[in-house]
Symmetry: C2
Subunit: 138 residues, 2 copies
């Protein structure tokens, strides 16, 4: 298992996240987008309206290193801020969506490292761990 | 002027954004955070609870290329999604905040390129432009 139960629940109840990719000349890019947590594969599957023609799609085909974060604010304090950042390797795959407005091409992230802040009542505060033997900007 | 009136209004009414920095081994990182649009300098000023000891603070001191995005969803359609991404050069400066919980150290982003989606009624959809002679992952 890559994700803890608390992390899986956090990913499952969120609909949007922010993806950072590496673009031209090594410059980072960051975009808001919809996603689904693929519990069977333990991947992050990112869909979009014009995914196959997007800069992020081209970016990950050139440089697959990405970071993705899901977050929410439940109250305006440090304790009320929650996020789960996933660093990993992105691949582009074709996956027929049930939503006809979404392109069949998706970006799928295979997690390498997880950084969490106030995710799950059993482990408040910040923690990080590698979830494979590879490193991802540890 | 770096920002249009519509862009300035969009930045001013938002309180949170997402910052992408380059970390160890060139891996991107992305975090949610609070910010203020500094209208006098036309910069993005990013504050935080433990800013000076954060990874993002160290990251921008090593590699100052960053991307920052502010977004909102007003309805669940493509037309209801809005974002303003700013790519630029980050610097770390000391700026005494009125909030004693925030560190005086901040990250200040000087914009080089603006990418907007559905920001301002006069220019729906996507547009991008460089705001200086330098390029930033155009």
């Amino acid at each position: 298992m890559i994700f803890t139960d608390a992390e899986s629940r956090f990913l499952t109840r969120q609909e949007r996240g922010h993806l950072s990719t590496i673009g031209a000349a090594g410059w980072p890019q960051v975009k808001p987008l919809g996603f689904a947590y693929n519990a069977a594969l333990e991947t992050i599957d990112i869909t979009g309206y014009a995914m196959a023609s997007s800069a992020k799609y081209r970016n990950v085909q050139a440089v697959p290193r990405v970071a993705f974060v899901v977050d929410e604010v439940t109250e305006p304090t440090a304790q009320g801020a929650h996020f789960l950042e996933i660093r990993g390797i992105a691949e582009t795959v074709t996956h027929v969506s049930t939503d006809p407005h979404l392109d069949p091409e998706i970006i799928r992230i295979r997690p390498l490292r997880v950084i969490a802040y106030n995710v799950g009542p059993d482990q408040p505060g910040l923690y990080a761990r590698n979830v494979t033997d590879q490193t991802a900007g540890a």
